[in-house]
């Protein structure tokens, strides 16, 4: 919590001096900008926020913020963030990931993070490709996307993360587009405010390996319907949407997980239990 009367910070106060090394034009620049804008709008301070990530282009984000950060192991951002939030429920914890890190290597953690409903905001920058490792197909890559590394395409049906998040129990599900950083900031702000596990999939083009994704600017559009709190209705919408509906798509009322007994013992008392 910030001290009462403390001055509001600006987005730039949440940026570190480390300059991003993403490719020029990468969507992740806008997501970084959206995160910092949202944190400023929430009236938070960097020392009250932690950004946890795994591995990949998008997972570089913690270093580019002035918040606490943890650039962790591939696919393991969510377990680290869950542990952090359980130990320090006072912190606002954001988790950054990509479609490879979050849905493939970290796929199982994704399911159980949704199920546990710990108060986290999970931001997945989805570009349908493993960019950092030179363009392999990811779980969200279209089956017919042909490249030098997957001639003719994988032929595999793509993963549908929003549907899976809903089925697994996520309490807030939204889709954003990095080409609209202000809209993306507004969605991140809502996600942080919403109690429980909030999941935002950000369509964030990879201009290097998927230059055709520049066209997403002509495809992304506001979701034509208001958010619903009915999981059945949300499921139907998510199953039939075109992948470019932008906005909050589901907002549930499930109470977030809270650890009942936090640090009730001293370190000395705990050590006694393990003494041989």
């Amino acid at each position: 919590m910030n001290a009462p009367g403390a001055p509001m910070l600006a987005a730039k106060d949440f940026k570190s001096d480390t300059k991003p090394v993403w490719c020029p034009g990468c969507g992740d620049f806008s997501v970084l900008s959206a995160i910092t804008k949202a944190l400023a709008a929430l009236g938070l301070k960097p020392e009250n926020v932690a950004v946890v990530s795994g591995i990949g282009c998008s997972s570089r984000i913690p270093a580019y913020t002035s918040c606490y950060g943890f650039h962790g192991v591939h696919g393991r951002a969510l377990p680290v963030a869950t542990g952090l939030k359980a130990a320090r429920p006072d912190l606002t914890v954001l988790v950054a990931s990509g479609d490879g890190d979050g849905y493939s290597i970290g796929g199982n953690h994704f399911l159980h993070a949704c199920r546990r409903n710990v108060d986290l905001t999970y931001i997945v920058m989805d570009n349908h490709v493993y960019g950092m490792t030179k363009g392999q197909p990811s779980p969200t890559t279209e089956p017919d996307w042909s490249s030098k590394l997957a001639p003719g395409g994988t032929g595999l049906k793509e993963f549908h993360p929003l549907v899976i998040a809903l089925a697994s129990g996520a309490n807030f599900i939204a889709r954003a587009y990095s080409g609209d950083p202000n809209g993306c900031a507004a969605l991140i702000e809502q996600a942080v405010r919403h109690p429980g596990f909030s999941f935002i999939e950000v369509l964030s083009p990879c201009v290097t390996f998927r230059p055709e994704q520049r066209e997403w600017k002509n495809m992304a559009h506001p979701a034509p319907v208001a958010p619903t709190d009915d999981p059945g209705r949300a499921a139907r919408r998510l199953m039939t949407d075109d992948g470019f509906n932008i906005g909050v798509l589901y907002q549930g009322h499930r109470a977030p997980y809270r650890l009942g007994n936090v640090a009730s013992q001293t370190v000395e008392a705990l050590e006694c239990q393990f003494r041989l």
Binding site: K19, P20, V21, W22, C23, P24, G25, C26, G27, F29, S30, S33, K37, K134, G135, S147, K148, L149, Y177, S178, G179, D180, P181, N182, G183, A185, A186, P205, V207, T208, F209, R214, K217
Partner: protein, 159 residues
């Protein structure tokens, strides 16, 4: 005028972001040009503040309340290329200034109160002047040759 201020500020931030991106990729000439453009936009924002003599910053319109995703003077986030040349950066700036001019002309020709339309007309004149200045600047910069984006040794290749 709060909207005009917000627009200049957003353009200033985007050009600064582009300058950083091209610095990282060692395109120093264009990075420097973006830094200049960013500085120019910050001067425009500062002048609005001085002219308005606001005792403190007014409540800015919600940034996402534009008709488009961002303000009319803000370049698209994916509009840069690591091999781009000064001419490309100026072409981008020209497009942004033209959009800003059209935006204010639209308000001036609309049904807003007379005071707002007068201010919009002044802002449109100002943007028109910026368009002229950038066109002059472009005449002093060589136009890129075909194949400017071909890199015989690309930094990221699957070969």
């Amino acid at each position: 005028m709060a909207r005009a201020y917000s627009m200049e500020l957003e353009a200033h931030e985007r050009y600064a972001q582009f300058a950083e991106q091209l610095d990282t990729h060692n395109n120093r000439e264009v990075a420097e040009l973006f830094r200049k453009l960013s500085h120019i936009e910050s001067l425009h924002a500062k002048r609005i503040l001085e002219e308005m003599r606001w005792p403190s910053l007014p409540a800015l319109p919600p940034a996402y309340a534009w008709d488009t995703a961002e303000g009319p003077e803000t370049a698209l986030p994916d509009a840069v290329h690591y091999l781009m040349q000064p001419w490309h950066a100026l072409e981008m700036a020209l497009r942004c200034e033209l959009q800003a001019q059209q935006y204010f002309e639209g308000i001036a020709a609309g049904k807003a109160p007379p005071g707002v339309r007068k201010a919009a007309l002044e802002m449109a004149d100002e943007e028109r002047e910026h368009v002229r200045l950038i066109r002059d600047w472009m005449r002093r910069v060589p136009q890129p040759e075909a194949g400017w984006d071909e890199d015989p040794d690309p930094p990221r290749t699957t070969e």
